[in-house]
Symmetry: C2
Subunit: 326 residues, 2 copies
């Protein structure tokens, strides 16, 4: 029945251009989930969406706004890419729970409860201590569940993530991260988190961002695919997708802004260091979405069959999207 295979990259934040949309389509991406805010407030999100509306107008033969899973099917039929909006922070709602419904009306389908720092909702993975989901966080989770906005804990700390999984009545997502059994870093996830995520019907999108990769920019395709195989052994292949975290084409001022926002006067280097503060170089087998073809080969070489490979490269995310609302 499911003879159609969807390709989905469930996290990109590129310096958007016709060229990138063409690469995505050439890589057969039926859907991408793109980031609309890292530190932006509500009004800045409106401006970012205005910019996207211009892209949708200018490149209508390549992209259109995605609202739900049917748009993934439509994109596949029409040879376009459906673009789904997400927030990597709760900064756009500030301290106002009523804005959750407003961002939903703007078409936001994913929201992280935290970026790297403590938020009003939960604790980010760069904080020293993790107090879990806060009083406001509990209220916002209820509201996100009611509306059908996916809780994304990619940048959150361990206890907060477990809390979110337990509090949410809907499966949550970790759209872009890797397991820490493969590479230990603040952004990667423990086996405890991965298992709880899968048991609750959630998804992890494996990240291709070098700071999340073993051997960083020198990570091999084989090592990456072995990691996916071990994750599949741990939690089952159905809970695995790709969220590449591609940041193609941005100047280094953008990664500096991602790390520092407006929260500090002392420069923070995040996953980098003073000596190595730039955007890291992508592995040569995943410079952009064309790397999906390499992933396909790599996954098959490591022993995944045709169906499993297609599930990982998009069908699992498609099924997750199908379950988002009601």
């Amino acid at each position: 029945m499911n003879s159609i295979n969807y390709r989905i990259d469930n996290l990109q934040y590129c310096n958007w251009s016709e060229k990138i949309f063409k690469i995505n389509r050439k890589a057969k991406l039926d859907a991408i989930h793109v980031t609309i805010a890292y530190h932006e407030d509500f009004d800045e999100v409106l401006k970012n969406i205005e910019t996207w509306n211009k892209y949708f107008n200018d490149f209508r033969d390549l992209i259109f706004p995605g609202k739900n899973f049917k748009d993934i099917e439509k994109a596949h039929r029409e040879n376009k890419t459906a673009v789904f909006f997400g927030l990597q922070n709760c900064s756009p709602i500030g301290d106002n729970i009523n804005l959750v419904e407003e961002i939903h009306e703007l078409g936001i389908l994913f929201m992280q409860l935290t970026y790297n720092n403590q938020s009003l909702l939960a604790t980010g993975c760069y904080e020293h201590t993790d107090s879990g989901v806060t009083r406001m966080g509990k209220e916002v989770i209820k509201e996100m569940n009611r509306l059908g906005i996916v809780i994304d804990m990619s940048h959150s700390a361990e206890k907060s993530t477990i809390d979110a999984i337990n509090l949410s009545t809907k499966p949550i997502a970790i759209t872009h991260a890797n397991p820490s059994f493969w590479f230990e870093t603040k952004r990667n996830k423990s086996n405890v988190v991965l298992k709880a995520l899968a048991e609750s019907g959630g998804m992890i999108g494996h990240s291709l961002y070098p700071h999340h990769l073993k051997d960083k920019s020198n990570c091999t395709l084989k090592s990456f695919c072995e990691m996916i195989a071990r994750t599949a052994d741990l939690i089952g292949v159905k809970h695995i997708g790709i969220g590449s975290d591609l940041c193609t084409g941005h100047p280094d001022t953008v990664v500096e802004w991602m790390r520092n926002g407006k929260w500090t006067k002392t420069k923070d280097y995040g996953e980098g260091s003073k000596e190595n503060s730039s955007f890291p170089k992508q592995p040569d087998w995943f410079l952009d979405a064309s790397g999906f073809a390499n992933l396909e080969k790599g996954l098959k070489n490591i022993g995944f069959n045709e169906k499993e490979t297609n599930d990982i490269l998009g069908n699992n995310w498609y099924n997750f999207y199908k379950g988002i609302k009601n």
Copy 2:
């Protein structure tokens, strides 16, 4: 040398009127610290200050804006009350550390790192778990120290308060709370906190808000003064003042707003309950600032001498204000 005795109430949030300013002056209050924000953002603070500027214009024979300790002296000489501004939340700076300098320029002298909930800076006393001062909190403390804004931890949780005391290079304040050895409630403070506060040169302003009082509205003057005496035994009389938390004249919609802000769609009753959600009735010996005369009698009756009584009723806060900047 210090023959002048100052009277200071270091926390009031009344429904301001000429009548209240007159009561304050009649009670010989040379200074009050008033709350400019509970949940307000930066622009709303500007509006609240506009309102205050109108009060300063209309009631210039009673009040004027206080900037530093010299204005307490001036108020005393001129038989007026100097009004110092403070924030009971960090909501006005949001996620933008640059706004700390802007609120300082607006004349804000005190800022709580949290109201009752988790903030971007620290944990409030109503949260289940206290992760302490956050990454942004550490940066904001440095900035407050640099500018001379007092860190106020009245509504913060235990670890966060200890962290703030340790991180701040300046003494901090708990402008309105009581010791939990006398009355155990989320807003009152442990001996550990009180001792650390005093050892670092900080001040506690004892609160007259019924939810912080043993026997609440029925608390006796004697019990209150005994509590001050025990606190003085614990931390020394020099670290003790009054921060009455008077909320005279507000309708109950105000306490509902204080508790709920915009963070929840489920009604929160804070220190009250569904059956008892109103502003609590003040004890009959402290209906307003005229109660300072009762406090004076009560403190002397409990055994404080003239000097100690004057220190508690204002001179200690005056000395604290003297040390705020440089």
